[in-house]
Each structure stands twice: as C-alpha cells, then as structure tokens.
Amino acid sequence: MTHVEQARRRAARGAGAPVGVLGFLGELFLTLGVVVALFVVWQLWWTGIGPVRDAKEQVAQFYAHVAPAAPEVVASAELRTDDVPEVAQVAHGQTLGVLVVPAWAGKTENRMPIVEGVTPDVLDRAFAGHYPQTATPGGLGNFSVAGHRRSYGNSFLHVPDLVAGQPVVVETAETWYVYRVTGHELVTPDRTDVVAPVPGSPGALPERRLLTMTTCHSVRYGAFGNDHRWVVRAELEGWLPRSAGTPDVVAEMEAA
C-alpha cells in the first residue's frame, strides 16, 4: 500500500485521531444520558422493592402481636363516639398501628404500618410516619402522618382518590378509629401549621379529633414533583373496640 493510498483512506475515514476522541466523547455522553435515565428508574421503581417488603413484614408483625378482630360484625358493629380511648405516644421507630385506606384497595398497599417519626429511616421504608409532636390515633387535636407519593413504595400515590366522605381507618392494638375525609389543600413544604392541633392556628386549643395526611405534590408535575404538599383532612367519625367486630367500611373493603 502506498503512502498516497493510506492518506486517501485516512481522509475518507475522517481525520484519524480526532475521530477516536470524538467517538469516545460521544459514547461517554450517551452513557451519561443512560445513567440519568437509570437514576429515574432507580427512584421510581427500585427504591420501592425493599421498602414494600419491609412494610408488609411490619404489618404482619403487628397482627401477630394483637388479638385478631372479631370477624363477625356483631349487630352491624355500630361505631361509638363517646369516651374515645387514648393511645399512648411511642418512641421513634415504634409501630402505633396500621393505616387502612379502603379507597386504595387493590391499587397500592392499603394497609401500611404507622411508625413514629417523619425522618428518612421511617418514611423510606414505605411506612406512614407519625409526626412526633402531634396527637395519637383518636386523640383530641390533629393525628398527622406523612408518606411518600412516588418513590420508596408509592405509599400515598393515589392520594387524589381521597375525596370528601371517603373513610380512612386507623387500627391499633385495641381499637379501630374510623375517620372521614373532609377535604384537602395544597400547601408549600414550610407550612408546618397544617399539622398543628388546630390546623392553621398553631397554639389554639383543639376541640376536634382530626387526622391529617401529607405527601409530595407539585402544581406543575403532580405526583412527580416536590414543590408542594398534598394535605388530606379528615375527622373522627367514631371508634370500635377490636373485640366488638370490624367496622363496616373495612368489612366491605375485605368483601369486595
């Protein structure tokens, strides 16, 4: 092969060494693009696998340690509204009970453990985290929980389903507490007053028994954003001792 031929070939290929560098850079940028896409896959899918298993285990452990609820609904198991039993505060990481959301049956894990704390070690395990400074289930004031919307198990993904009138049930070792959704609001993440005993009026003395659920929300990106919080409001409808049966809303959910 003559020098002329070699030069011609090199010319046809481009310019020798720079092609190698450009090719390397091209591959590098493509790879970086794929890595960014993989990060999204990791966050939306992978982060949910372990936590959902954790949450199911936690719920199973809870049920293993409490007496099973009387399966038969005795005389339709009327909810009581008098003498609401109090639940003691628990330490960080301890389980308070189980959050049962009938509207989420068949969509996501609709029985999730309610664990003390709203730090990543609790929330990133697909648990509903209880705001430590707020009331306990059934308590006077504002029993408040937080849960991830789209990542780490998608616990509260279907939060828009919780329209006024939907039941939200909290099951503790002794008692069922049945709440009814009264509405929701979208707030910025710094609005800690949404979990105050009287929402919106920090410092005021509570007279009602409320439940608040907070999760991620974005005005522009919905479940995929984090610039706001979706806040569900509910109020206690009544309670039932586990020994007296299962509340109608839970029995209906299980029968469906």
């Binding site: 790879t31 890595v35 730090t119 937080a146 907070t214």
Partner: protein, 62 residues
C-alpha cells in the same frame, strides 16, 4: 469507551458482545446499589420528602 472495552476483551465477537452486556449490567447494579443511594443522600432535593416540617427546619430532609 464501549468501543475501547469491546476491542480489549478476549474471544470472538459474539463472546465479546455478551461480555460487554455483562459489564453494562454489572455497572447498572453498582449504580443502583451504591452510587444512586449516595447521590440521593448528598442532594436531598433529588428525592422528594413528603413531610411539611423538614423544609422549614432547613434540615437534610428538604
């Protein structure tokens, strides 16, 4: 990069192609197991937090 790896792997083209796929899968697993959790811990804004207190406190869970 991948061309370089492909060129430096031993064996016939089919074997090398399979090896490259294996390298890619191993890299993905390493990203999922170690790199992404670390990245998420460094830049909390990347992973949304569902609670209201965190941002107000300016803590790591923004």
């Amino acid at each position: 990069m991948w061309t370089w790896i492909f060129r430096h792997l031993p064996g016939p083209a089919v074997v090398r192609a399979l090896l490259v796929v294996l390298v890619m899968l191993a890299a993905t697993l390493a990203l999922f197991t170690w790199v992404f959790p670390w990245v998420a811990a460094q830049w909390p804004g990347l992973v949304g937090r569902p609670d209201v207190a965190a941002a107000a406190l300016g803590g790591p869970a923004a």
